[in-house]
């Protein structure tokens, strides 16, 4: 257990920046490219101050050319650099998909193991900012459908630091999904420069025994709020956080379902074709199937583009009360 004295309080945004800064200081091959990441400091302020410390050679402000940003990163990674690149919004990955999916993800396999593509693609995702349908999506399911990519998503400042550092040190293309509503979230972050969260892990965020909830991103925080509320009624919810969405570690989820017999899987992404379906399928394929005592509940975004209006926007994605009602249903309390 880490002592509080080894930690400092900071935001999720600052924790990502700290992880990047530490890695850039210790490895000169790490460069960072994206739109308005220099003087402007990035659309969400993640790269603020990096230009001053690392200079124009390593902090590269690009034209608005997402295909070139991702493709250049792939080409640079294949030839010895370790680029981090930023899509200003995850939605814009549509414009970089060829470079990511057909080039970066497949190059190693296509060439029989000849190359490696050590790059990080930062993707600010999710709704809640009132930016409407082209700036609010959670498109992780697309990325989790592409062997060769790794997909990670932190839910706390500490996780953000540990995972961004792991992503930068990884020798594969890693998609690093940041939920925009978490940027101002504050938490304790280890100051240790070797604090790394291993990619490929699902963690227990909150132990319990009655119902298993699997959630990530801001949806995880809503699940935790629900769990705190339910605890007052004596219901102990166990919450699992798949920090790596792909390739996902299932065993902790399976073990939890064996213990609780009840499962809720939740995300902001559109429910149809979402990652929740995959997680559920793997649970019912596993030994946990025999332990289920109620139908599984999937919470996900409605099958609509994210609307602008604040109330409509909030109603599009799962909220705290959806978890509370879900747990009640599973426990036959309604």
């Amino acid at each position: 257990m880490m002592k509080t004295s080894d930690m400092i309080k900071m935001t999720y945004r600052d924790a990502i920046r700290l992880g990047i800064t530490e890695e850039m200081r210790q490895d000169k091959d790490v460069i960072f490219l994206g739109e308005d990441i220099g003087t402007y400091g990035g659309a969400f302020g993640v790269s603020k101050g990096l230009l001053e410390e690392f200079g124009e050679e390593r902090i590269l402000d690009t034209p608005i050319s997402e295909g070139a940003i991702v493709g250049t990163a792939v080409g640079a990674a294949t030839t010895g650099l370790r680029p981090i690149c930023e899509m200003m919004f995850m939605d814009f990955i549509t414009l970089g998909m060829d470079a990511l999916v057909n080039q970066g993800a497949k190059m190693r396999y296509l060439f029989g193991g000849q190359s490696q593509v050590p790059m990080v693609l930062r993707l600010p995702a999710g709704s809640g900012t009132g930016a409407a349908a082209q700036h609010s999506q959670s498109l992780e399911a697309w990325l989790c459908h592409v062997p060769g990519l790794k997909v990670v998503t932190p839910s706390s400042p500490a996780q953000a630091k540990g995972l961004i550092k792991a992503a930068i040190r990884d020798n594969n293309p890693v998609c690093f999904i940041e939920h925009k509503m978490l940027y101002d979230a504050v938490g304790l972050v280890p100051i240790d420069e070797d604090y790394i969260l291993e990619i490929g892990k699902t963690i227990v965020e909150r132990p319990g025994k009655d119902v298993t909830i699997v959630a990530y991103g801001t949806t995880l925080l809503k699940a935790i709020e629900a769990a705190e509320f339910l605890e007052e009624e004596g219901i102990k919810v166990e919450i699992l956080n798949p920090l790596t969405l792909y390739p996902i570690e299932m065993q902790p989820i399976i073990d939890s379902v064996i213990k609780t017999g009840c499962l809720i899987v939740a995300h902001e992404a559109v429910k149809t074709g979402g990652l929740g379906g995959e997680i559920v399928a793997r649970v019912v394929e596993s030994e946990a199937f025999d332990y289920l005592t109620a139908p599984i509940i999937r919470l996900g975004g409605l099958d609509v583009p994210i609307p602008f209006n604040q109330e409509l926007e909030a109603a599009t994605v799962p909220q705290r009360n959806d978890f509370v009602h879900g747990v009640y249903r599973l426990l036959n309390r309604i």
């Binding site: 493709g71 080409g75 010895g80 057909n102 050590p118």
Partner: protein, 320 residues
């Protein structure tokens, strides 16, 4: 004028012949049903595929198109390993996982063929960024076809390479067709190199069947990029004799057009040059051709005798 040594002329003629034999042999294997999948042949494009590679310096890099065999032979790849890859064998460059379209030798600077038309442009920018960042003095040669210059990645890459002064030479082999679509139907300008003006970089259109012209132009362009002046766009006008791929019945073109271009065949033109300038005796020329032919026969033998990949390799090399 760039000096051409006898040794270089020999290498040029040998590699162009090797490329021609490679493609013809592969065509034969395809027609006999010996090749799984398809191949994209570049018969007729030997000067535009081989010569830019021969103008490279040790340590320079290349990114190839989907029609890459001739380019790969120019770059110096081993024809045995290339043929083995085309036949899907474990001894091939990609252990049978890439096939004809994805031959690569990354360690030696060959960043591979690309199955996505236009997919290599921004990869080349990235590879060039590495050279600039590490100050290696090396240049990236990026091959693509006429069709690729209508993709967004072409324009994004030329712009990026221009503003960042990346050491990359974009070499467009305009073989007159984007699959079945004649170039005049998909590009509304006479010369593709005119597109360089929009990015404030040098652009040149040359006869892609003239081995000497291609070599000289590529040499100058590489020198320019190496000097840190930024990218160059070259368009080499040439012609592919075969169809786009094995299923192409070539209904979109007139046989007479092919015959006209065959009169300008790059190998014939080089042979004429060698005779006129009395560089080699007739016997030496024949010997080079024969050696090239034999090397391809041996490559086929090597490939055919090579083992198939084990099924257990399916899961290998997805991740580093």
């Amino acid at each position: 004028m760039i000096e051409l040594s006898e040794e270089l002329l020999l290498r040029m003629y040998y590699k162009m012949n090797q490329a021609r034999y490679f493609e013809e042999k592969l065509d034969e294997l395809v027609s006999k049903g010996k090749v799984h999948g398809t191949v994209h042949l570049a018969i007729g494009q030997e000067a535009s595929g081989v010569m830019p590679c021969l103008a490279l310096e040790e340590g320079d890099l290349v990114s190839m198109s989907h029609r890459s065999h001739v380019q790969a032979i120019g770059f110096g790849l081993d024809v045995n390993l290339m043929m083995a890859e085309c036949l899907g064998k474990y001894t091939g460059y990609c252990k049978g996982k890439g096939g004809s379209m994805h031959i690569a030798d990354v360690e030696n600077g060959n960043l591979g063929g690309n199955g996505i038309v236009g997919g290599g442009f921004n990869l080349s920018c990235g590879a060039a960024l590495t050279q600039k960042y590490h100050n290696t003095g090396k240049v990236v040669l990026c091959f693509a076809g006429d069709g690729a210059t209508n993709t967004g990645s072409f324009h994004e890459s030329l712009n990026l390479a221009s503003i960042w002064k990346l050491p990359v030479v974009f070499f467009i082999e305009n073989n007159q067709y984007g699959m079945s679509n004649p170039v005049e139907n998909h590009i509304n300008i006479e010369n593709i190199s005119d597109r360089s003006e929009a990015y404030n970089i040098p652009g040149l259109t040359i006869d892609g069947n003239d081995f000497l012209g291609v070599y000289n132009t590529a040499t100058k362009a590489l020198r320019y990029a190496r000097a840190g002046k930024g990218p160059v766009l070259i368009e080499a006008k040439t012609y592919r004799y075969s169809g786009h791929s094995k299923s192409d019945k070539q209904l979109y073109r007139d046989k007479r057009e092919l015959i006209e271009w065959q009169k300008k065949d790059p190998l014939l033109k080089m042979k004429e040059y060698l005779r006129e300038n009395r560089v080699f005796t007739e016997k030496q020329i024949l010997k080079m051709e024969e050696e090239a032919r034999v090397s391809i026969e041996q490559a086929v033998e090597f490939a055919q005798k090579s083992p198939q990949p084990e099924l257990t390799t399916i899961l290998e090399d997805v991740y580093a």
